[in-house]
């Protein structure tokens, strides 16, 4: 029989066992009830694999339906989500894809979703695909996923308007610059790709599978089909765009090689329809190949593009700010007529300089004698416009500059547009803290000094003149199409508004610009074209080198359908530097309209008159 002590010990043993059982039960409660949800996720993470089906980005067409941007099939390398990875595997991937292990770890850390694979590298080469396929059994967590790759078949063509795409950066995600993106998403980085990103991107789909420990698929779950991005039909005219780019390149080369403008590398050309603001061509030089960015730009290419002092990445049409030069005389002239400070046939004497500021005269010291408005604009006389400036005053010049749209964004559907600057007393005070002088007014009257405009602003000004006073907002996207090609919607555009300048005044401007391209004007070679074209030359003073050459034109004169603005940086006189590009644009336009016989534009860069003798600037 047991003694008391042994009985007590046995009872103690039972008590001890009860405590241990309580611990086990408590542990179960902790794991299954308290932490149940966490472990459920972990177990789902083990067995579920979600793959993203990337929605193809919308295509981009020119106005006639020509594909300017499309997608090619490609592969992305992704890493299956796990709670942990073997160091050897990461090391291996790092060597294979040439990504530092630290970067891979960062990507792993940044991805939140439990089942979604981590994107390691977009758009890998065929060679890499083969390599990865061969080595997959050593690293089953690495997978290839099919992915549409953005493609720009015409490379540089219209790159500044179209833009390019790239992987969304952590900064962009953190800042919330894009909606519905995750690490690895492809988004628009510039141009229309960026401004219409939401429409082009579409919605990614996904599918889920259940796998066993060896990675064999056991079960398929319902998938979410991707919604392809919407397509864009642009206002751009492929033929005109291509012709202008080719010609501009040739012409710039000609300017450099002939010694006329050895440093002429940068230029901007924009052509639009004055009747609605539809941009037909947008050229900025130098350009670059957007495909480089899609494929992950090499540091060599990046350095070349980024360190170029002519800034290939900038869209000079909307962000380049230049003194408008003599093209601004339209503003000064409009102000003078509107305020009744001059009559159409009122002669003003040009004695080579203005009597109130005798140091200021014409370019090249010319003396043109008695002039009326039409001939003064056609020959781009400075003294005449000094006098007009003197009569209306700087405040009115600034007022009419703003009426024509200067000093404010045009609102074109691209990001990164500049405002430019309208010369005024206020501006001078702010920049130099100096009093306004009459000489400043004279400078402002002929578009020098403080005035700064972008090519797109000039095109708007010119459209107003061409369009008898109605101002439209320029735009690039004509319509948004569904993936099947049917119309989804036409982006809403502001209605055209008649600016506060009389019909009569606008008529005078048109007459002056028409005379510019006739015998005796500064761009008389335009008279060779089968339809009359009205234009205006400009030469913008540049303190950093040779003057910028400008040319603006619209045509045909009686019923304008096209406005073209061209600026050649450090190109010298407007008529020689910029005029030929505009001439070529109208040549192409007239051919398309059937007003001119088709055929190769005769000879080289100067085929269109590249070396006409400029008149007084």
């Amino acid at each position: 029989m047991l003694n008391k002590k042994q009985t007590l010990r046995l009872q103690t043993l039972l008590g001890l066992c009860l405590v241990l059982f309580a611990i086990l039960l408590g542990r179960m409660m902790y794991l299954q009830l308290w932490r149940g949800e966490y472990y459920t996720k972990q177990s789902d993470g083990n067995r579920l694999r979600q793959s993203r089906i990337i929605a193809p980005r919308g295509l981009v067409y020119d106005k006639d339906g020509k594909e300017l941007v499309n997608n090619l099939p490609g592969y992305a390398v992704v890493l299956q989500k796990q709670s942990d990875y073997k160091p050897e595997t990461l090391e291996h991937i790092s060597q294979l894809l040439d990504i530092p292990v630290a970067d891979i770890k960062k990507k792993i850390k940044e991805s939140r979703n439990y089942y979604e694979p981590i994107l390691l590298k977009n758009n890998v080469s065929q060679e890499m695909v083969t390599k990865i396929e061969e080595q997959r059994r050593y690293m089953p967590e690495v997978m290839l996923s099919v992915q549409p790759i953005r493609n720009y078949p015409y490379k540089e063509l219209a790159v500044h308007a179209l833009g390019y795409v790239g992987e969304v950066s952590s900064y962009e995600i953190a800042k919330g610059l894009f909606k519905n993106v995750t690490q690895g998403s492809i988004v628009g980085k510039s141009g229309l790709e960026k401004s219409y990103d939401k429409i082009l991107r579409g919605e990614d789909g996904s599918f889920m599978e259940e796998v066993d420990v060896a990675g064999n698929v056991v079960k398929h779950y319902d998938s979410v089909q991707p919604v392809p991005g919407k397509n864009l039909q642009l206002t751009l005219d492929f033929r005109l765009q291509k012709a202008l780019e080719e010609f501009t390149d040739k012409h710039l080369a000609y300017l450099r090689n002939s010694g006329l403008a050895p440093r002429a590398r940068a230029a901007a050309v924009v052509a639009l329809d004055p009747r609605n603001g539809a941009v037909r061509a947008m050229v900025s030089r130098p350009g670059y190949d957007p495909n480089l960015f899609v494929h992950g730009i090499s540091s060599k290419d990046w350095d070349r593009i980024n360190n170029d002092d002519a800034y290939p990445l900038n869209n000079k049409v909307i962000s380049g700010e230049y003194p408008p030069g003599s093209t601004f005389k339209i503003v000064t002239g409009s102000a003078a007529f509107e305020l009744n400070k001059v009559g159409l046939n009122e002669p003003i004497f040009d004695g080579g300089f203005h009597p109130l500021v005798p140091t200021m005269g014409n370019a090249g010291g010319e003396v043109l004698g008695w002039l009326t408005f039409i001939s003064a604009l056609a020959m781009s006389d400075n003294v005449y416009f000094y006098e007009l400036g003197n009569r209306v005053g700087i405040d009115n010049i600034a007022k009419y500059a703003r009426i024509y749209g200067f000093g404010q964004k045009t609102g074109i559907d691209l990001e990164g547009e500049s405002r430019g600057l309208v010369a005024s007393k206020h501006v001078k005070r702010e920049i130099w803290d100096e009093d306004w002088r009459l000489g400043d007014t004279f400078n402002a009257a002929i578009g020098q000094g403080f005035n700064l405009t972008t090519p797109i602003q000039l095109s708007v000004m010119l459209s107003i003149v061409a369009n008898c006073g109605i101002k439209y907002q320029p735009y690039l996207v004509d319509s948004i199409l569904n993936a099947d090609g049917t119309l989804f919607e036409k982006p809403k555009r502001a209605e055209g508004k008649h600016i506060d300048v009389s019909q009569q005044t606008i008529d005078y401007m048109r007459q002056g610009m028409s005379a510019t391209t006739q015998e005796g004007g500064t761009a008389s070679y335009f008279s060779q074209l089968p339809k009359p074209i009205a234009g205006k030359t400009g030469t913008a003073e540049n303190s950093h080198g040779r003057d910028h050459g400008l040319f603006v034109a619209y045509g045909p004169v009686d019923d304008p359908e096209l406005v073209v603005v061209c600026i050649v940086e450090q190109g010298g006189f407007g008529s020689t530097a910029a005029g030929p590009c505009v001439y070529r644009a109208f040549e192409e336009f007239l051919k398309e309209g059937g007003w001119m016989p088709e055929g190769k534009p005769d000879q080289q860069a100067g085929g269109s008159p590249a070396e006409p003798v400029p008149a007084a600037q």
């Binding site: 066992c17 794991l31 299954q32 949800e37």
Partner: protein
């Protein structure tokens, strides 16, 4: 008359708990080996386990005809046989998972260390029973320690950490009940801690690793830590009611390795949730409670010692195995009695149940 008396004195609580656990075990083994059974077209594990279950139950029934006291007469022979068996493992055994534990006899391979725990309980109970009157001072216990040291060392040499710890659990259970002073336990504990570095040196690399990984499973998420991580996921994801029989993704998709043997409890936790896990724990609690009750009720010291030895054994298995699957004990390769697949383990555990029942049934001073 005899049969009537036996039936009347059978511990039906204990029998019910064991039968229910074995039934659950079959269900869980079926689930854990489901994919294997489907691919081979034969529920091999379930068939084998149930075969040995029937065999074991018959064995238990027959054993009731004998009196447990006759075991005393075989103690010395069993002790020697045990040592021979353990030596045999060292020379002819084949190894699995880095340890020599198996012996092949014909088409049967079995684990001698499973049987040696039964022998050890009988031998140790006999040995202590003979000296029961003299076990007063600490030095009186030294022969007991010496007696168990030889088989213990042989088990350690296999190496089989689980079984060697099992021996210690049996020993401690018995001397605790005999009246080994708390103070002495404390001193042994201090001595153990002092010897820990030396002990560490004796451990095999894989054993050291298991302990390291137990302290931090994330250390080796693909090696030894993998089991525990996956097992915790399995249990935790079961939630309150579980994912349902044959529907545990961790077990069915093989994320949980060895799920029909050492990690069977994780299958229960995953497929039957907290309700299932708690039920199983309660059934073990019944076995332990009955074991101690039988020890209290036994009419001789030998019976008490046997019952305590068996109960300590079960308690050790339950605590270490469930603790391991739940991540609060190191991975030691200790199966869960009546649930884990394994015919050696099943047979020996039923032998232990037979001993418990016998101690109860063979009481002399019964109140008629």
């Amino acid at each position: 008359m005899e049969i009537k008396r036996i039936l009347k004195n059978l511990d039906w609580w204990l029998i019910s708990a064991v039968l229910i656990l074995m039934g659950c075990g079959l269900g869980l083994i079926d689930s854990a080996t489901h994919s294997f059974a489907v691919s081979t077209g034969k529920a091999w594990h379930v068939q084998r386990q149930s075969m040995f279950m029937v065999f074991g139950i018959i064995m238990v029934t027959i054993s009731l005809a004998f009196d447990y006291r006759m075991l005393k007469n075989y103690a010395t022979r069993l002790y020697i046989f045990n040592i021979i068996l353990l030596l045999a493992v060292m020379f002819v055994g084949h190894s699995q998972l880095g340890a020599q534990r198996w012996i092949q006899v014909g088409s049967l391979s079995f684990q001698p260390s499973e049987f040696s725990k039964v022998f050890l309980i009988i031998c140790l109970a006999t040995f202590m029973d003979k000296r029961i009157e003299w076990l007063e001072e600490f030095k009186d216990y030294l022969p007991v320690f010496g007696y168990i040291f030889v088989p213990w060392l042989l088990v350690m040499r296999q190496p089989d950490l689980g079984t060697s710890l099992r021996f210690i659990a049996i020993l401690f259970g018995m001397i605790f009940v005999r009246g080994f002073k708390y103070n002495w336990f404390l001193r042994l504990g201090v001595a153990f801690v002092a010897l820990l570095p030396a002990f560490w040196m004796v451990l095999k690399d894989y054993q050291k690793n298991r302990i390291r990984v137990f302290l931090n499973p994330e250390l080796d998420p693909f090696g030894s830590g993998y089991h525990v991580i996956q097992s915790k996921i399995a249990i935790g994801s079961g939630g309150l009611l579980g994912k349902g029989w044959l529907a545990g993704t961790q077990s069915q998709l093989n994320f949980l390795p060895e799920n029909h043997t050492d990690f069977i409890f994780a299958v229960a936790g995953e497929e039957f949730g907290f309700v299932g896990a708690a039920l199983i724990i309660m059934l073990y609690l019944i076995i332990i409670w009955r074991g101690i009750a039988i020890a209290l009720d036994a009419d001789d010291n030998f019976g008490t010692l046997l019952a305590v030895g068996v109960t300590s054994m079960f308690m050790f298995h339950v605590m270490v195995n469930i603790g391991m699957t739940a991540g609060i004990m190191p991975v030691t390769g200790v199966p869960l009695p009546f649930l884990s697949y394994g015919v050696s383990s099943l047979t020996t555990n039923l032998m232990l149940v037979a001993i418990l029942l016998n101690v109860k049934v063979r009481k002399q001073n019964l109140q008629f």
